[in-house]
């Protein structure tokens, strides 16, 4: 009896050890398979095409790295970079912007002070006084206008870059969807996204930005030299831009949501049908192939999530610094307007006008970034 028990225990121990070894071997094999599939799919994505988007703006946040290594590190769970470093770099950039913003604010306040001095010593209707006030107003237009144009150029470049990134990312996402057996999404989604992103980009760059610049020019001329003659036109332009931006972005978001929801159901049915067909109709090895397809689908889902994170991080990298700059400019202009109103004179209206324009520019930038992140997320959130 004892011998029988000892033999049974020994056999059980040997069996468990063998099973453990086999399990470890299987785990290693599975990991190797997953790694190989992921490497293969990363190569298929040709991530070099995104290197140009890790430009100056993004590399300030994430350091100088290539797209391939970033995607691989996201897949391996390392993330896009050390959060502490990223925050430190971001804080340094914000500090730089704040310093230059404070210098600009001091300059604008000095101009307002001089303008008030000119106005205080001279009567309102006096022609010489009006001439000297016009000189101060010209200085204000020059300084505030130049700062706004620099920020606007950076914002416009960022909007263009993000739309370019959407165009570059959509084919990759389509490929990942296709490798994840999301054939319907892979064929329909890129067409819709490309079309809508293209239209939004064109509307933003060709319509809203020129309108914004025109609004600034009119507002500056109105406040500095024309004493309120273009006030109604400025209001009209501002309202047109606000409504137009809201409408464009609402339509974009709605279309993406409707499209994503309908395609998701169709894809789910497609995947289930494929699994059933493979396991039922392929003789003997059907279930094995079906299981292998699970690995490929899982890897595709993993990579899609990783690519989504990468694209969203890149998008944030592209728009964070311009957004910080525009935000600082807006705050500085608002502060300068407040101080100028206390000092006296009409320059505060000019500063307020430029601050409103900076706010609209920030809305355009934020809207484009949010649309981009939404369109990428819509593809990433679908489970396999």
């Amino acid at each position: 009896m004892r011998r029988a028990i000892a033999a049974a225990l020994l056999s059980a121990f040997l069996l468990c050890t063998a099973a453990g070894a086999e399990y470890e071997a299987r785990e290693e094999d599975a990991q190797d398979t997953v790694r190989a599939v992921i490497d293969e799919q990363i190569e298929l994505m040709t991530p070099e095409r995104f290197d140009e988007y890790i430009g100056e703006q993004s590399s300030i946040l994430y350091g100088k790295r290539d797209s391939r290594s970033i995607i691989r590190s996201i897949v391996e769970g390392e993330g896009i970079g050390d959060a502490h470093d990223v925050l430190q770099r971001l804080w340094a950039a914000v500090q730089d912007e704040l310093k230059s913003g404070m210098r600009l604010g001091a300059w604008l306040t000095a101009i307002a002070l001089l303008c008030a001095a000119a106005g205080a010593f001279l009567e309102g209707g006096d022609a010489v006084g009006a001439a000297s006030r016009a000189v101060c107003a010209s200085a204000a237009v020059t300084v505030a206008g130049r700062a706004f144009m620099e920020a606007a150029a950076q914002g416009a470049a960022s909007v263009g870059q993000m739309c370019g990134m959407v165009r570059a990312a959509v084919p990759v996402m389509a490929g990942l969807l296709l490798s994840g057996a999301r054939a319907i999404s892979a064929t329909s989604y890129p067409v819709v996204i490309m079309l809508i992103a293209g239209i939004t980009n064109e509307i933003t760059v060709r319509l809203f930005l020129p309108l914004l610049y025109g609004y600034c020019a009119l507002k500056a001329a109105d406040c500095a030299f024309c004493s309120g003659r273009f006030q109604a036109v400025c209001r009209l332009l501002k309202n047109a831009m606000t409504w137009g931006l809201g409408l464009t972005f609402s339509v974009f978001t709605g279309l993406i949501a409707i499209n994503g929801a309908s395609l998701s159901v169709a894809d789910g049915i497609g995947v289930q049908t494929m699994k059933f067909a493979v396991s039922s109709f392929v003789p003997v090895v059907g279930s094995a192939i079906s299981n292998a397809s699970q690995i490929v689908l899982g890897c595709a889902g993993l990579l899609r999530a990783a690519f989504g994170t990468f694209a969203a991080a890149l998008c944030i990298g592209m728009c964070t610094l311009p957004a910080v700059r525009i935000l600082c400019l807006m705050l500085v202009l608002r502060c300068a307007a407040a101080v100028s109103q206390i000092i006296g004179g009409e320059l505060w209206k000019l500063y307020e006008g430029f601050a409103d324009a900076a706010g609209l520019l920030l809305a355009m930038l934020a809207g484009t970034a949010i649309l981009f992140i939404i369109s990428v997320s819509m593809l990433c959130v679908r489970s396999v």
Partner: protein
């Protein structure tokens, strides 16, 4: 105290001018001009405080000194021109006063030309879509 001194000078100047005008109108004008000059000097001293504050702010901001100089010059010209124009008006020479005003405006325009060009450039660039 500064204000009291200022008001005293102004009232004394006006009273003296009114008293003297009845007998010697030529002297009355000179007294009025001297009084105005005194007040102008005081105003210049007050203005210099404002200008110093502006200059300090400008130094902090690291802004273009050329623009500041232009603005200071324009304010100075307009103040001097206004002073001269008022004396001419008091003397009953409105034509000369008007011409001084015009000359002052022209001087301001000439000295502020670079600033006007810069402002027009910026407005033009904004109107043409930031090009």
């Amino acid at each position: 105290m500064e204000v009291l001194r200022l008001v005293t000078v102004a009232i004394a100047g006006v009273s003296l001018t009114l008293l003297v005008r009845q007998h010697r109108p030529d002297l009355a004008l000179l007294i009025a001009a001297a009084c105005a000059l005194c007040l102008c000097m005081w105003s210049m001293a007050a203005l210099s405080h404002v200008l110093n504050a502006s200059r300090r702010i400008v130094e902090l901001s690291g802004a273009d000194r050329e623009y500041v100089l232009i603005m200071l010059r324009a304010i100075g010209i307009s103040y001097i021109v206004r002073f001269a124009s008022d004396i001419c008006s008091d003397a009953g020479q409105s034509a000369i006063a008007h011409h001084i005003d015009t000359a002052g405006r022209l001087l301001i325009l000439i000295c502020a030309m670079p600033l006007f060009y810069a402002a027009v450039d910026i407005l033009g660039a904004l109107a043409s879509g930031g090009a």
